[in-house]
Symmetry: C2
Subunit: 465 residues, 2 copies
Amino acid sequence: MPQPLARELGNLIERGRDRQLRLAVTGLSRAGKTAFLTSLVHQLRHAGLEARLDLLPAARDGRLLGASRVSQRDIGVPRFPYDQALAALSETPPRWPDPTRGISELRLVIRYRPAKRGLLGGETRELTLDLFDYPGEWLLDLPLLDHDYLSWSETQDSRQTKGGARHAMFAEWRRAVATLAPDDDADEAQLATIAEHFAAGLRRAREAGFADLQPGRFLLPGELDGAPVLQFFPLPGLASDQRKTLEALPENSVYRTLAARYAHYRQYIVKPFYQQHFRRFDRQIVLVDVLGALNAGPERFDDLSRALGTLMQSFAYGKRSLLARLFAPRIDRLAIAATKADHVTPEQHGRLVSLLEALLAEPLKDLRFADVPVRALSLASIRATHSREVEQRGKRSPALAGTTLVGDEVLLFPGEVPSRLPDAGFWERQGFDFPAFRPLPHDAGALPHIRLDAALDWLIGDKLQ
Amino acid sequence: MPQPLARELGNLIERGRDRQLRLAVTGLSRAGKTAFLTSLVHQLRHAGLEARLDLLPAARDGRLLGASRVSQRDIGVPRFPYDQALAALSETPPRWPDPTRGISELRLVIRYRPAKRGLLGGETRELTLDLFDYPGEWLLDLPLLDHDYLSWSETQDSRQTKGGARHAMFAEWRRAVATLAPDDDADEAQLATIAEHFAAGLRRAREAGFADLQPGRFLLPGELDGAPVLQFFPLPGLASDQRKTLEALPENSVYRTLAARYAHYRQYIVKPFYQQHFRRFDRQIVLVDVLGALNAGPERFDDLSRALGTLMQSFAYGKRSLLARLFAPRIDRLAIAATKADHVTPEQHGRLVSLLEALLAEPLKDLRFADVPVRALSLASIRATHSREVEQRGKRSPALAGTTLVGDEVLLFPGEVPSRLPDAGFWERQGFDFPAFRPLPHDAGALPHIRLDAALDWLIGDKLQ
């Protein structure tokens, strides 16, 4: 066999290995996961036609030929509801798609021409892209793997018991749990009632915009609704030097019963997600609604920061980490993105990225230490505004034109995004009130976006060379 | 050790083996599962006090001391919502409890004195009774284990395509599926649409009172909502002599795609219920709403008969059956009960049992052949009427006094229950219209019932000797 042809065949085999990529999208509720995935699929399907993907070299060079949906690999996982999402965007007036509630999946086959033509000439290639969408809340349960019931109870102690708006939401639970002693005989009905108070506190906190909520499945019980495994809660006031005494209590004591449920939750609810899905993702993007958190005020902003710190631990696994030892995940590239960038004027986008990086400063350090390549960016998956320059008091100012969720057409000068974490003084001086817009009317062309192509380039661009 | 004491100890050990019993309750939707389990738990908890359980010897002899709820064995299974059911019955006006939707479980410890006192004297014993409640619809999927996709398609052919009210409910699906050929390339979105038409037909049929509906999980998708595994349907017009040709079609053909989903459903949805739960039940009661089926007319009555025939196959496993080979179930005693007996006058109860036996004639033959002891009876788990004798045209007739679901207090002479399967002429001459009553107001005492104690005697009485 002549050398060049042999090399060519070798290349083909080499590429064969790369022809599948599993890309996961996550973020906390309302971060924009559904809009991101819908737009991503829409752009790739319209590639080569109307889609504007100039920051993705394969598209810019005209080598991206299109994408088609094919049967997904795991038919036991719900399919990502792309058609329903697109239908919502095409309504009159358009509306944002309904949020997804669990994991969902969708498989695309992308056709492209390689950047360097081989000896075999003008061939086309295919990349199979498996897309996954799952709730970021599930990752907030990761720390449970690191704790037993006693140490978890201790970590929760400060959260539900110290002051603030969140504190008030757990008042009923605190009253109820105060009647329990660890060595009481467990009463099924009483534990169920107290657990329901705890879950109600979590639900209230989520509705008020808090994100750092454990255990995640209490908020989305599904088929486990009413199962004792979802009926535990921390016991306030436990200390680790009591461990021996506590573990010697009878099996049907309050402490042992709650500890057994906690252990079951960890083993049969938290672990299976990592085992069955997480460990197989190749690439990951984490979406963050930074502007929403600024709107919500200092307590929720701090809460978001803490929740993201927890969430990102799932990616910053060093070789020695518990996660790496348990599941050997293989995510080799990560993007973090501030979504809804079109809700501020373009000259603010740099600050938005800086703020995101400040918010994730600690997790980013861990990621660098763990040698996971990561890129921060801001984007709008589906554009909802037009930016304008408007004459104001004799000088031209950037402004946004759009339609608010309630249907008012407005021209706005949204406030400044801070480029660093706002301090207490800052919150006192200035509140934030970034408006929420409905999507632009959608006609036949590709969905308008901001820098979705930059995200695509980082996440899949190297596989389209 | 003196002989008598040694024998006594041996007895104790022997009994120890018998101190656990797993009793399962099933029936199709609205058969009265929740009312049965609620009343059963209530009677046992009130045993020794107000409960009237004269047909259960241990209770009649004053040896049944009571029962208490304890932690269930499998904390990943929802707890049977006993408290919520009791609360519904105690409302003003009382209402029937909400139906359960999947499997649930509850553990009781029953305290009793053995019938023959041993040398150790007046000791009390305990029986741990695990109660399970699961939808009879799940058992309708059993035949799927016996079929591959092709043969299942053939069995379904006649059901959705021949005439009758049920036929009309699948009209949209038939139109949609007619556009498909087995060797077409599978189009994900198209298959999803046609599957949704099929599921909509099943839902309409269930709402209209039909019971013989496959696949069962299409009616209760839970967390699998939107997953391709629930997106299959029979292909009309297939014949088994095409098997070779069909199986040689490409993997992404319509036929192969649907067949793969069917196989996944069988393996990961039907089988796990038998593996994880069914094979561990010791005793089983099947509840049947015979009166409701009479009310609904001949087509639905025949449908119920067919559904029950299918359902009962799960219990009539001979040694050579597929079920026995796969899962080795161990149900050693079965009860079948016509529920809501209080909705007809007492002298009709004998006919109600005869009709139930006629309805189940074929399955009962199979059960006898398989040597599974079975008892048929009629009962009212929670009494909703009082029976009266009323003077009518000079003679005393039995009548029922109660409050209908909409709140009217009525005195009724319900029609005659046929003691054999009604033939076509019978349906023409006579319709049925048995009324539906709300439960009697519930005060402190045990819930009033009819022959729940007879069911209890058959199902657990031998363990309370």
